[in-house]
């Protein structure tokens, strides 16, 4: 179910990203790892490759096993079966304190009795580095996270954002082969979180390290990650770049989990090289360009993102395909965009998003208005599962 991390079509934001070189050996290889807690499977037969220099995000609903997977990488949990390889070396039985990976904990887990500089130096002292080297690296780390002058403070004397940066500095101080981040920004407020996401990205690029982040926040995952894996019930459902996952989800579940989507059930009527027509009780005849693996007669779902659906009070000129009329039954005003819920004549409720381009307080489309929805053939994705 997992796409290879290559694909010429990859919409990778960074052309230099190593994941776009198919021949490259993975830095981290997870081989059919399983883990269950008192009978309940947390991670099932999961395989994944992560490449050097990559910013990889594990995304999924709570309880999907993403944190368990991360903890197995750190050595804090032992897998029931399967192997974890780093640079080709089996890491599965190596205790956490000998793994060249470091983790940044969701709660930060800063040592409350140690000063900021001693927190950052903790890992370096375990390696018995000379004192001068430790002092130098601590200073480097403090500068890196812009906390110069805070070294003598205790964690409780810092704000939440500062604590988060200390935790980051501490986990980076040992220059890990891979930095594991467990919901690193969950405790920050929304604005700070947004800023920190970009800081994390530039930090990762600057240091050239491999980051694996676990998050349940899809915006966060899509912002920071080169590649992401969407998890559910202990399995990886899809692994691809954020754009691929959003625009080409491989299943209804992924389409529904990432962003807003209209899922219209239908039956394949005809298939041509460039287009597929689908009959549906929800709307009129649907037409899509991405055929997927469907055959005529198959039951399929058409996934349509609300921002790709156009809404207008006038009937479009070519009403034959991908067009449906209905009545506005709900409007969600989000500031930048508005979400319109439209009850089609078939009874099916569809969502359409419209950017609020003007500052008018009264929107042209109001509740109970009769409207037409239409979309282009390449806006829809046909899903078979």
């Amino acid at each position: 179910m997992q796409n290879p991390p290559d694909a010429a079509s990859a919409l990778s934001r960074r052309d230099c990203a190593p994941c776009s070189e198919p021949a490259k050996q993975p830095l981290l290889r997870i081989e059919e790892v399983s883990k269950s807690f008192s009978g309940a499977a947390a991670v099932e037969q999961l395989s994944l490759d992560v490449f050097e220099g990559e910013f990889f995000a594990l995304l999924g609903p709570s309880g999907c096993g993403k944190t368990t997977l991360l903890r197995m990488l750190a050595g804090l949990e032992a897998p029931d079966s399967g192997r974890i390889l780093l640079d080709g070396n089996d890491l599965t039985a190596v205790p956490p304190y000998r793994r060249p990976l470091n983790m940044m904990f969701q709660s930060y887990a800063l040592f409350p009795h140690l000063k900021v500089e001693d927190n950052i130096a903790f890992g370096l002292k375990q390696d018995r580095l000379p004192a001068a080297e430790i002092a130098m690296r601590v200073a480097q780390m403090l500068a890196l996270v812009r906390l110069e002058g805070y070294g003598k403070r205790k964690p409780h004397q810092l704000s939440g954002g500062q604590r988060q940066r200390v935790a980051l500095a501490r986990s980076l101080a040992k220059r890990p082969r891979i930095l594991l981040l467990d919901e690193p920004l969950a405790a920050l407020d929304k604005k700070l979180r947004g800023e920190t996401q970009f800081e994390l990205m530039s930090l990762q690029e600057q240091l050239g390290l491999t980051f694996i982040i676990v998050t349940h926040d899809q915006q966060e995952a899509m912002t920071v990650a080169d590649r992401m894996g969407v998890m559910n019930h202990g399995r990886l459902i899809q692994v691809a770049t954020p754009a691929e996952i959003y625009e080409q989800p491989n299943s209804r579940w992924v389409a529904d989990f990432i962003g807003e989507v209209n899922l219209i059930e239908g039956r394949v009527l005809t298939m041509r090289a460039d287009a597929i027509t689908i009959a549906s009780t929800a709307a009129a005849q649907l037409c899509a360009t991405q055929a997927g693996s469907a055959n005529p007669g198959d039951s399929v779902w058409v996934a349509l993102r609300p921002e790709k659906v156009r809404i207008s009070r006038e009937q479009p000129e070519q009403p034959a395909e991908n067009c449906a009329a209905g009545q506005v039954c709900g409007i969600g005003y989000l500031g930048d965009i508005s979400i319109y819920k439209v009850r089609l004549d078939s009874g099916f409720v569809m969502k359409a998003a419209l950017a609020n381009m003007t500052r008018a307080l009264e929107r042209p489309i109001r509740s109970d208005d009769r409207v037409w929805l239409h979309w282009t053939a390449d806006a829809a994705v046909v899903l078979t599962q």
């Binding site: 804090l76 304190y97 887990a109 409350p112 009795h113 903790f122 040992k174």
Partner: protein, 316 residues
């Protein structure tokens, strides 16, 4: 009806005033309690310690007669003396008693810590649903009278007691050793009686400790035993200090355990105190012994308070 805005403000101010009085009253209660049941008795004891013994009722002189006026007060103050303190300082019996008490208290506290820490640690790390049961197990001895439990230990420790029977049956010893009237018996009694006072504060501290900190230590390259020294132990210092204080201070003044289980060759200060009061009927010397004991105990208390202040400033 409209109320003038001024009236509202007045009501608020009045309300605040009663609030402040309420708050003061609440703070006053413990001070009143301490004044009435600690400071006043202490001043009486201090006064008696500055008196001379007398064959009278009460058995010391001078006695303050408040009704006799100014002249009587002058005579009273003139009658006070520090002789009892110089007597305590000159007689080696008292010094030996104090030292013995401090020695027993210090060693008992160390033993309690060594035994109590693993117990508390085990309790804190036990599955959640077991913890209330383990907690009960620690507390349950309190349901029986302290005196009865110490008498039970006499039974266990006597020459044909359970301990010797067990040792003989296991062929650890050939001859039953005499346990009673030894320091060993005193230490057994102390550790047994004061264990809950050591375990409970330690448990409270360890139970609150974030287990993620140990994971973080491991992640940063620290094996488990080392993480214990670098993380668990420093973070449990407040519990250690509280437990040590709860044990050390009462053990210094302990009377029942050394009297029932210990030997007669050297007595702890509590026993000396008892002898002065009840056998020698020398209330002034007994009071002086008590005042010196209190001053001795102030040292660890002040030390502990300083540490707490430092923790508040440093923030544990």
């Amino acid at each position: 009806m409209r109320t003038a805005p001024g009236a509202d403000i007045g009501a608020v101010v009045k309300h605040r005033k009663t609030d402040r009085w309420g708050a003061r009253l609440v703070v006053l209660v413990p001070y009143l309690w301490l004044g009435l049941f600690f400071l006043l008795p202490f001043l009486i004891v201090l006064k008696i310690s500055l008196s001379r013994p007398a064959i009278a009722q009460p058995p010391y002189t001078p006695v303050l007669d408040i009704t006799a006026g100014w002249q009587a007060l002058k005579v009273f103050i003139g009658g006070l003396t520090v002789d009892n303190y110089s007597f305590i300082a000159s007689d080696r019996l008292y010094l030996a008693s104090y030292l013995k008490s401090l020695e027993v208290a210090a060693l008992s506290t160390v033993l309690l810590l060594v035994i109590g820490f693993p117990l508390a640690y085990g309790m804190a790390r036990a599955p959640r649903r077991w913890q209330p049961i383990l907690f009960m197990v620690v507390v349950v001895p309190f349901w029986t009278s302290f005196l009865i439990r110490i008498y039970a230990w006499i039974n266990v420790l006597q020459r044909d007691g359970l301990l010797n029977q067990a040792l003989l049956a296991l062929r650890i010893v050939d001859e039953p050793p005499g346990w009673l009237a030894t320091d060993t018996a005193v230490y057994i009694g102390m550790v047994y009686s004061y264990l809950p006072f050591m375990v409970l504060p330690l448990y409270a501290t360890l139970e609150q400790m974030d287990a993620t900190l140990l994971e973080a230590a491991a992640d940063l390259g620290c094996p488990r035993w080392k993480a214990f020294w670098l993380v668990t132990l420093p973070l449990s210092l407040p519990g250690i200090a509280a437990g040590a204080q709860l044990c050390f201070i009462p053990i210094v003044g302990e009377f029942v355990i050394p009297d029932l289980l210990g030997g007669s060759q050297s007595s702890m200060i509590g026993q000396t105190l008892w002898t002065e009061f009840f056998l020698n009927k020398d209330w002034p010397v007994a009071s002086a012994v008590a005042v010196v004991l209190l001053c001795l105990l102030l040292v660890p208390i002040l030390f502990y308070q300083r540490m707490q202040l430092r923790d508040l400033a440093g923030g544990l």
